[in-house]
Symmetry: C2
Subunit: 145 residues, 2 copies
DNA sequence: CGGCTTTCCTTAACATGTTAATTGTTGCTA
DNA sequence: TAGCAACAATTAACATGTTAAGGAAAGCCG
């Protein structure tokens, strides 16, 4: 380390944290006063897009650990936004499905969500945006081929 | 939206989340069994690098909200890794300082931490690494000029 | 001086992140 | 088939994220 710059400046972990804060801020604003959290929103979107799936798949797609997912699904069930069903062939497993109310919640906000993403695309420029996604994928162990 | 691809694929928020997971994993491994968490580590590093500072500065540099910082500092004080001092001129304010034991904790691991960062630099290549930091900075509202 | 606002934390309350231990099911296998 | 390993959730325990409310100190202002 011959650099005279502070070690934590341009720190990758912190840069990732702050970028995520920046991106999530408008989404959190959108969800404020709906009673639905950022993570619950993430789960609902996956279910809206891909349909019924087992919890393991849902956990992977949502990037949530099982203990978190258990609690989130309990909350979403109470709110009537998802339905949990036991697999009759293997009663350890569980399938999750979005309800019509859940779908309605997503539909009412998907346009605004799309708009928020579009804002960041134009902030970075489309080319930079794609580059960023490619570089981020390299840091994700599940993405590296 | 004329794309036929799923809306959440190549989702920026999720990509940021997963990239951060990928980067933090080895750091978390390093800290496992030390009793010091990722956030506590972040606070200690800032104090080790910049020296004494008030809590507002510390919160900004560590990207922590005040309620979190309050709890973290209480924990670090109990562990004897930092010292909290009241500003005598303005007794609302507080200064935080790392202790010799805290410094020792950092020193014993800073080489490994540097090595972890170097791994990611070589995974991406130095040029990509710098590009990534630049693009991430664009997403951070506190960084945009 | 007495109130008013602002600032700096601190608490509270609830959701999530994280690791470890636990419970129920299934499958294998001696 | 009894016993045990493997698997899918769940629960527990503790730390943090997040928003809102509270408390103490400082500054302002009539």
């Amino acid at each position: 380390m011959s650099s005279h710059f502070p070690v934590t400046s341009r720190s990758l972990p912190i840069a990732l944290l702050r970028a995520r804060e920046g991106v999530m801020a408008p989404i959190r604003d959108m969800l404020a006063d709906t009673g639905v959290t950022e993570q619950q929103w993430r789960v609902l979107r996956m279910l809206a897009e891909f349909g019924v799936m087992d919890t393991k798949t849902l956990a992977n797609r949502s990037s949530l650990l099982f203990p978190s997912l258990t609690r989130i699904l309990a909350t979403l069930s109470e709110k009537g936004l998802v339905i949990q069903t036991r697999d009759q062939k293997d009663r350890r497993r569980q399938f999750i499905e979005i309800t019509p109310e859940g779908q309605k919640f997503i539909d009412a906000r998907s346009e605004e969500a799309t708009q928020i993403v579009a804002t960041f695309k134009s902030t970075l420029g489309l080319e930079n945006y794609e580059t960023l996604l490619d570089l981020l994928a390299l840091l994700d162990p599940d993405e590296r081929d």
